[in-house]
């Protein structure tokens, strides 16, 4: 098999060499330099550049938006997510306008100004006025983009999370664990040296605020109620990525990070829109090892009653650790 492949490769190289020799010999007979760029070359390549840069490529871009555009931004299901999406659509709009202005110019100039032996280019080394214009115009376009972007960023990061429900996300190779802060809405202290047996998060049970903490394998949220996710990691860097909520934050061993948001749609509502299979999921989005691609946890957004019913069936950490 490998010998056959080797033979085929060898043969194709020999064939290529012969084709090139023939090509060069023909040029020699015609008294031409085989590699000189002729007017014919300029014509063919100029037209090709226009056709491929200007028509085929731009057509491909439009085709992709038509057929793959549905994949852009799965529906946003959080308060700030809607703001990010508006900013995203605005930015995408600006980008596409600039894209569809500049790329055709490039293709058009290549066609229009393809060289001819007898024509001469226009000596035009600089024009300060023009250069000022195309420094100022991008600046003017950029200014609202920057201001708008920073405003949204500021909105997201300065949201008051004082009254948010606190939930911890704990990452390790290759799964997630969640911890609700319980009645007192305060997470008990934790230390990696205390991880043992059922105490998978290393919670310090001496800490009075830890008693009512609740450890779960999936996260239930109440629609419209703000939550503050606090992230920790046990081993390597992971990243908590919740694409539908437009939430992403790294989980870093040795420190706690956080992200606050408010879900706006229940899982049931999303299933109606997106199909029965829909689930909110938490993904790991920082390379973390062999099963990185399979590190997930289910998020369920529901009404207060559904949430209360589920919560009532969960054990507090104190009970889990002492009763078992």
């Amino acid at each position: 098999m490998s010998i056959l492949v080797g033979l085929i490769i060898l043969l194709s190289v020999i064939v290529l060499v012969q084709i090139l020799r023939v090509n060069e010999l023909i040029s020699e007979v015609k008294d031409q330099d085989a590699n000189e760029i002729t007017d014919k070359d300029n014509n063919v390549q100029g037209i090709l550049t226009f056709a491929i840069f200007g028509v085929l490529f731009l057509g491909f871009v439009l085709w992709q938006f038509k057929y793959w555009g549905v994949h852009i931004l799965p529906p946003a299901s959080s308060l700030h997510g809607a703001k990010i999406d508006t900013l995203m659509n605005f930015t995408l709009g600006v980008i596409l306008i600039v894209f569809f202005l500049t790329q055709p110019i490039l293709a058009w100039f290549s066609l229009k100004y393809r060289g001819r032996k007898n024509s001469v280019a226009y000596f035009y080394p600089h024009n300060n006025k023009l250069e000022v214009i195309w420094t100022v115009v991008p600046t003017l376009i950029l200014t609202p983009l920057i201001i708008y972007g920073l405003n949204v960023w500021n909105d997201i990061t300065s949201t008051d999370t004082g009254n948010s429900k606190v939930i911890e996300l704990y990452a390790k190779q290759f799964n997630w664990t969640a911890r609700y802060a319980g009645e007192d809405n305060t997470l008990g202290k934790a230390n990696y040296k205390l991880v043992e047996g059922l105490n998978v998060l290393g919670v310090d049970m001496e800490d009075t605020t830890a008693q009512d903490d609740i450890v779960t394998r999936e996260v239930h949220l109440v629609v419209g109620e703000s939550v503050l996710l606090k992230m920790r990691s046990q081993d390597v860097i992971h990243s908590a990525f919740l694409p539908h909520f437009r939430v992403q934050m790294n989980c870093v061993p040795g420190m706690t990070t956080q992200f606050g948001f408010t879900p706006t749609q229940t899982t049931a509502e999303m299933k109606e829109q997106e199909g029965e299979d829909f689930e909110f999921v938490l993904l790991c989005n920082k390379i973390c090892g062999a099963a990185h691609y399979n590190m997930k946890m289910k998020f369920i957004v529901e009404t207060q009653e559904e949430y209360d019913a589920w919560m009532a069936s969960q054990e507090t950490l104190k009970n889990t650790l002492t009763l078992n």
Binding site: Y113, H126, V236, P243, C288
Partner: protein
């Protein structure tokens, strides 16, 4: 006054002090590594479009252990991704690109007989060669090569228990990169000194070709940022081997609680990206320089706005040092800091836009000669626009939240620095091949190479933006674990299809390259009608570059189609005519 000492095979081709030979050594090593890096990408693309399927080619290259039954092992998938990135970023687009063109062009274009220190230059190549051997060796160790991503974030890269690639493979990676940094510093210092001190008479800074400006700025960037990578790597070596805790804290791995406390993986990220971001421009700027030169020569027009082009290079280089935080928006850094990095990052759009418009203005009313080099240069302008624009999304911290580490990033940086820089490099090879080897490359193969490359590169990387906007994370072995990504498999198939075509056509380029070295039609001294000094040297390529006196420079490099001139170019060593003004 060239040095006519007797050359043996060893001193001429191996331990050569001649900058032209060293440039070719960098180029051919870079091309060799490019083939390996590209092959890796095709192997993991097969897995991504057809997850879990058996391929004979996987088993052929990776063996029974890493691709049992022709199915790629998840750890080896990550190793391939890591090595692909490492090889392409450092070996091909840093050493292969700058090493080739800085060495080749600096003495020739500024009018010097060689680099300031030929010996340091030779050492620079041989450190690079040693780095290459170590890196390639790591592909053959029992536990596999490094697999923590090319950015090697600890703790993953620090703990062999976390992933097998973080064993011996990671040690070898770190040694290779250390040797690489030494090589890059030896080269960079040499480039700076040569450009500043060894310009021929009349070659003022304002008459330097843009290639040299770009290479000078790149060398400065490298000298300022690579030492930070070295310290970053050294601390990681300490953490891995000597029990320190620079980057490690509060870790349980494989059920064992490690003693390390107080370190921070985020410190690593800051150090890494302090190099990592300038590195992006270390890759891009030489391509910008080459493209400026190639576009001007083949438009038969002066580059539009020479001073603005130099200014834009300087501004981009300066900004590149204060934007590294945009790689870390979601590490939990202070939101205010995030705002600052967003602001500085988006500013880069301004000098970039100036460059694009100046390229377009150069093409306006030109007399374009479509050499393969020119096509790659025009292709560069296209990818630079496309990839640059998507940077406006990633540089915006609020938008980054949702696309960070998704395929959107992969699409963006491959187009703006991967494909663009490769186009710049290929434009450079096609353009300066006659000066390197005294022969021409076959133009028809060149055309075919360009068009298939152009179509497949966009075919591979443009669709990735859609994957990313759908939320698909990068570095996933397969996306089949999440039903929400089920609709994306046709996009992945398209990408893999174009990746294979695009990969195969590069073999055509390599064939053309080696065929032309030996059998190409003979080149003349100045086949493109260029103004820069390298085209005043004889076809024979002697050590010392000019057989007689070094030419004196009388004008800038861009007097193309100047009214009143006898032909449509006026080389830099031709004195101004009476009454002729300098552009």
């Amino acid at each position: 006054m060239s040095e006519h000492h007797k050359e043996t095979f060893l001193t001429k081709y191996v331990f050569s002090l001649d900058h032209k030979m060293i440039a070719k050594q960098f180029l051919i090593t870079g091309m060799f590594m490019g083939v390996i890096g590209m092959l890796m990408s095709i192997l993991f693309r097969l897995q991504l479009s057809n997850p879990g399927e058996s391929f004979a080619v996987l088993e052929f290259f990776l063996g029974e252990k890493w691709a049992p039954g022709g199915i790629l092992d998840p750890n080896i998938y990550l190793a391939l991704v890591t090595m692909h990135g490492t090889i392409l970023v450092f070996w091909v687009l840093t050493a292969g690109l700058t090493g080739t063109f800085a060495n080749f062009l600096i003495p020739l274009q500024i009018g010097a007989r060689d680099m300031a220190s030929g010996f340091m230059n030779m050492l620079s190549y041989w450190f690079f060669f040693a780095a290459t051997i170590v890196l390639l060796y790591s592909l053959f160790v029992e536990s596999g090569p490094a697999a923590a991503g090319w950015t090697i974030y600890p703790p993953l890269s620090a703990l062999p228990q976390a992933i097998p690639g973080s064993g011996l493979g990671q040690d070898l990676w770190l040694i290779a990169i250390t040797l690489f940094v030494v090589s890059s510093l030896l080269g960079g210092l040499n480039y700076i000194v040569t450009i500043l001190n060894m310009r021929t008479k009349g070659m003022t800074m304002s008459r330097l070709p843009l290639t040299i400006w770009a290479l000078l700025i790149v060398a400065i960037l490298g000298v300022l940022s690579f030492p930070v990578l070295l310290s970053c790597a050294l601390l990681l070596i300490f953490d891995r081997s000597f029990g320190t805790s620079f980057y490690l804290s509060d870790i349980i791995i494989n059920g064992e609680a490690l003693h390390n406390t107080g370190g921070s993986p985020i410190l690593f990220e800051h150090l890494f990206w302090f190099l990592g971001h300038p590195e992006v421009y270390i890759i891009l700027l030489p391509a910008l320089g080459i493209v400026s030169e190639v576009i001007s020569v083949n438009s038969r027009k002066p580059i539009f706005g020479y001073k603005a082009m130099v200014g834009a290079l300087i501004v981009i280089a300066f900004l590149s040092f204060i934007v590294w935080g945009h790689h870390m928006f979601i590490t939990g850094m202070d939101p205010f800091l995030g705002s600052v990095f967003t602001f500085t990052t988006l500013l880069i759009a301004i000098p970039s836009a100036v460059k694009v418009f100046n390229y377009l203005a150069t093409l306006w009313r030109a007399n374009i000669r479509f050499t393969p080099a020119m096509l790659f240069a025009i292709g560069f302008v296209s990818t630079f626009i496309t990839g640059g624009l998507t940077g406006l999304i990633l540089g915006d911290s609020a938008l980054d939240i949702n696309v960070h580490d998704t395929y959107f990033v992969v699409g963006h940086f491959h187009i703006v620095m991967g494909v663009s820089a490769i186009y710049g490099m290929l434009a450079g090879v096609y353009h300066w091949f006659p000066k390197m080897y005294g022969r021409m490359m076959n133009k028809k193969l060149g055309y075919l190479h360009f068009w298939v490359t152009f179509i497949s590169a966009y075919g591979v990387f443009f669709p990735m933006h859609f994957l990313g906007l759908a939320g698909l994370p990068r570095r996933y072995y397969t996306n089949s674990a999440f039903p929400m990504f089920d609709g994306l498999s046709d996009i992945n198939e398209v990408i893999t299809f174009f990746a294979i075509i695009g990969g195969l056509v590069q073999l055509l380029f390599i064939f053309n390259f080696f065929y032309s070295i030996f059998k190409g039609t003979k080149a003349t001294e100045n086949p493109w009608g260029s103004n820069t000094l390298e085209w005043t040297t004889p076809v024979e390529r002697i050590h010392g570059n000019w057989p007689g006196e070094i030419p004196t420079v009388e004008r800038w490099a861009y007097d193309y189609s100047k009214p009143g001139a006898d032909q449509d170019f006026v080389p830099q060593n031709v004195p101004l005519k009476e009454g002729e003004s300098e552009h």
